[in-house]
């Protein structure tokens, strides 16, 4: 599972899957009522719960998780792009992590500071932390882990991000609990780059075979692991933040979404990870006696990239018209049935501290005028979608209908989910796509919007924007830096080529016995999650 990327579940047999889910939903609606399974409210009208149950848990117990494994090539090496995502947070810790507002907070590092121009960062590391094999955690382990990410042979997705400001020789252990980074260029947001889920810390001596051993400092230690198969982790008594609530977790690979839902409804598993359930299925789950739904707020960031290098969208006026022509609130209402927030083409999730809370106008007449000025009145083109994600097609249809007022005529084209991200993405002028939210502000803007970045899905290039990002990195004053990020957001809204119609809540299926489920971005609270007393 590559969470930074997409849920892989739909890559395998898309159209059939949609069909299956639909059928399961339909059958479920009828049969659950028939067999007296539904609890009170009819399945079709049940509201989706907002948050997971919190409160007292029973001590111990095992949680059973059904996960969509990416492939038999998956590994426990967090630096790899083929990592088995669910295990990582249970097994390992990073130096730093993100809180819900996107602020960098301590994990294995207790505090950090920089010199005046942000080129030298010193991290003071937590003392008395032990790895699962009993070894003490020191600065050398952190250095080895980060070198492993930078190593070309690892081909880590985070290598480019870190490699821009540092290399393997940038790190020194001042003493066993002090780690110093001498960066190649100033970066005021450097600690946030270490919050990525590729940056987990492993013992220096275990880097070579970490993909199988999974030795870390996390709340659980590995007891078994099979790529694309089953695996288990057990509570680690010596975890520095205390023992986790659960005794252990069993992970099972279930590739088909319907099968995962069936396993949950039949009581074979307690949680379905990395799966955004479609509305029909979510209602069936919420109406059942055994299971319910929890939302991971704004976890899905939906985008409509316009390829800035294409004939259609090279003109900034056309791109602006494409935005002015629609009201994202209608898209949220139709495509997400209200389970999300309008994006107003600002890619920064509303929960982040750096989010600029102002939105552009919705003005179809102005859009029409802009198109006329650009010589593109009555623009006709195709918008590509796929069954890769259940919201894609509803979103494409809602967008098409919304922009019709401005005289824009879009034809929906459905592409195979199997090759959507190899044949359509970054190749067709207009398509729908999504990311998982969870990137810190600096990485989000640099990775997806900066000129020439390999994840810049709209191929947008704006020198002013790039300069703003550079200025922000050189600005050590937090308030001033935030202002620069806000200017950058305004520029994306105004001139950018990647539209953000909305942020969607992830609809997570879990058993009614699960207590204290909490997940945002790439952070999962494995320490506190437990089972009902």
């Amino acid at each position: 599972m590559q969470p930074i990327v997409h849920d892989d579940r739909d890559v395998r047999g898309p159209s059939r899957r949609t069909l299956l889910t639909g059928a399961a939903g339909l059958a479920g609606l009828g049969l659950l009522t028939l067999t007296g399974c539904s609890s009170g409210a009819a399945a079709g009208t049940a509201a989706l719960p907002e948050a997971a149950v919190t409160g007292a848990t029973r001590a111990g117990g095992r949680l059973r998780v059904a996960r969509p494994a990416a492939s038999a090539a998956e590994t426990l090496d967090s630096a790899s792009s083929l990592s088995a995502y669910e295990y990582l947070g249970a097994l390992y810790n990073r130096l730093v992590r993100l809180d819900e507002q996107g602020t960098t907070v301590p994990d294995l590092a207790e505090e950090w500071s920089a010199n005046a121009d942000g080129t030298e960062w010193t991290f003071r590391l937590r003392r008395g932390v032990r790895f699962h094999d009993g070894a003490r955690f020191t600065a050398d382990d952190a250095i080895a882990s980060i070198r492993h990410i930078l190593d070309e042979a690892t081909a880590s997705p985070q290598a480019g991000v870190l490699g821009e400001v540092m290399d393997a020789s940038s790190m020194t252990a001042v003493d066993p609990h002090t780690l110093r980074f001498a960066l190649t260029k100033p970066n005021a947001e450097f600690p946030s780059l270490l919050t990525a889920y590729q940056c987990y810390i492993v013992p220096a001596g275990a880097v070579a075979d970490i993909g199988r051993t999974g030795i870390g400092t996390g709340p659980f230690r590995l007891s078994s692991f099979t790529p694309a198969g089953a695996g288990s982790v057990e509570a680690f008594e010596d975890h520095f933040a205390g023992r986790p609530t659960l005794d252990g977790i069993d992970f099972f690979s279930v590739q088909d979404t319907t099968a995962r839902v069936n396993a949950l409804l039949a009581g074979q598993v307690d949680l379905i990870s990395q799966t955004n359930l479609d509305f029909a299925t979510a209602r069936v789950v919420a109406a059942s006696d055994r299971a319910t739904i929890a939302r991971s707020t704004n976890a899905q960031w939906y985008t409509i990239p316009m390829l800035a290098t294409s004939d259609e969208f090279a003109d900034p006026r056309v791109r602006q018209a494409m935005k002015l022509a629609y009201d994202p609130r209608t898209i949220v209402d139709t495509a997400l049935q209200g389970t999300g927030a309008p994006g107003w083409d600002n890619p920064v999730p509303p929960q982040l501290a750096a989010f600029v809370d102002e939105h552009r106008e919705h003005d179809p007449d102005k859009a029409r005028a802009l198109l006329r000025a650009a010589g593109a009145e009555g623009l006709r083109t195709s918008i590509y979608t796929s069954s890769y994600e259940s919201v894609f097609t509803p979103m494409a249809v809602a967008y098409r209908d919304a922009v019709a007022d401005a005289g824009i005529r879009l034809t929906i084209r459905n592409a195979s989910a199997d090759s959507y991200y190899t044949q359509i993405w970054m190749q067709k002028p207009l398509m729908v796509s999504y990311w998982f939210t969870g990137r810190p502000i600096d990485q989000l803007l640099n990775q997806i919007f900066r000129t020439g970045s390999s994840y810049n899905e709209s191929a947008w290039s704006n020198p002013t924007f790039d300069t703003l990002l550079d200025d922000a990195r050189a600005e050590m004053d937090d308030a001033k830096r935030r202002t620069l990020y806000q200017d950058a957001q305004r520029l994306v809204v105004e001139d950018g080529a990647d539209m953000t119609p909305m942020f969607g809540d992830r609809l997570v299926g879990l058993s009614r016995d699960v207590v204290n489920y909490s997940e945002y971005g790439f952070e999962f609270d494995w320490l506190r999650i437990g089972l009902r007393r």
């Binding site: 279930v254 039949a266 199997d418 190899t422 993405w425």
Partner: protein
């Protein structure tokens, strides 16, 4: 001699079929967009990452060359290693095939027996209540796709009444003992899915035979109905049904993709789905080879049984006195 020549010819055709199947599957995989590296990396497939992974997997070599090497290896019984997991293909495939057998063989035994019995019964009692019930039910079962049947059964017997597990959780690691509680629902689904077709063919061919002259003769001779059916009608009625049985059995043994997927059942169908979506050529080719082999063997078996049941087929080349009743009728139809 007479039997040997057609048998050898069939064997030759069989080998050719298997090799051609492997070639066509290879071409089909080439026609699919993306390779292993791109499929595995998804949106993380930056040019550098793809190149790195390709080098690791040895994909830089010419793809035709890799296919020929694989084919040469396969001829010697070496099916190569999976591009995704790095494990040898043969043991993985054999485990998956064994798991598929675990649901396919019982489904086949029950399905074929049940459907033949009911089909002949319905055919003999054509137009009566028994026939109407059997025909209607089989038509119904045939019209509902098997994933729907599977979903309904899961809802009834795993979720509503938790008698059976809904899915196999342990995946390809599961031992036979671990699989046993989970095989029942897939078996029922497969039995229903295949039985309906065989039943309807058996019924219509029984009706055909019962209306033919030799059965009328046998009846006029004063034989009991039981004797007419068992001794005269049944062998002739089975002939056209044989090929339908062969196809259904091959379909079952080849791993049933949709059914296995719904139950997360670690059989050959699921392995095929995964390897195709990952473009794992050695695994896909090995599966194609095994499936082609299963089809060829099933059809060969059907032909041999037909040979045994019908002397006309054995001797058609030398004798010409066969009455062309059927073909004439068809020509006029």
């Amino acid at each position: 001699m007479n039997v040997l020549v057609p048998a050898l010819r069939r064997l030759g055709i069989a080998v050719l079929t298997v090799v051609l199947a492997s070639l066509f599957v290879f071409l089909a995989v080439q026609a699919l967009p993306g390779d292993v590296a791109q499929q595995l990396l998804g949106q993380n497939a930056t040019p550098e990452a793809v190149q790195q992974l390709r080098a690791t997997l040895g994909l830089d070599e010419n793809v035709w060359l890799r296919y020929l090497q694989w084919l040469a290896g396969a001829a010697h019984g070496d099916f190569g290693t999976s591009l995704v997991s790095g494990e040898p293909v043969a043991p993985t495939l054999l485990t998956a095939f064994r798991n598929s057998m675990l649901i396919a063989l019982p489904a086949m035994l029950v399905g074929v027996t049940l459907s033949l019995a009911l089909g002949v019964l319905a055919g003999v009692r054509r137009g009566r209540a028994t026939d109407r019930i059997v025909s209607t039910v089989s038509l119904l079962v045939m019209s509902v796709p098997e994933f729907m049947v599977a979903t309904v059964l899961v809802l009834l017997f795993a979720i509503g009444l938790p008698v059976f597990p809904a899915v196999v959780l342990r995946g390809s690691d599961a031992t036979v003992a671990e699989l046993l509680p989970t095989v029942w629902l897939p078996i029922v689904v497969l039995t229903l899915a295949m039985a309906a077709y065989i039943l309807r063919t058996a019924r219509s061919s029984t009706i055909d035979v019962m209306a033919s002259e030799f059965v009328t003769t046998a009846e006029l001779k004063g034989l009991t109905m039981r004797r007419v059916v068992w001794k005269h009608a049944l062998p002739s009625a089975l002939l056209p049904t044989l090929n339908v049985i062969a196809l259904n059995v091959a379909w079952l043994l080849g791993g049933v993709v949709v059914v296995e997927n719904v139950f997360n059942y670690p059989g050959m169908g699921k392995l095929m789905l995964e390897s195709v979506s990952n473009r794992d050529l050695p695994t896909i080719e090995a599966i194609a080879l095994l499936s082609a082999l299963v089809y060829v063997v099933c059809n060969l078996a059907a032909d041999l049984v037909a040979l045994a049941l019908d002397p006309k087929l054995r001797t058609r080349q030398r004798r010409t006195r066969t009455r062309p009743v059927r073909s004439t009728r068809k020509a006029h139809a």
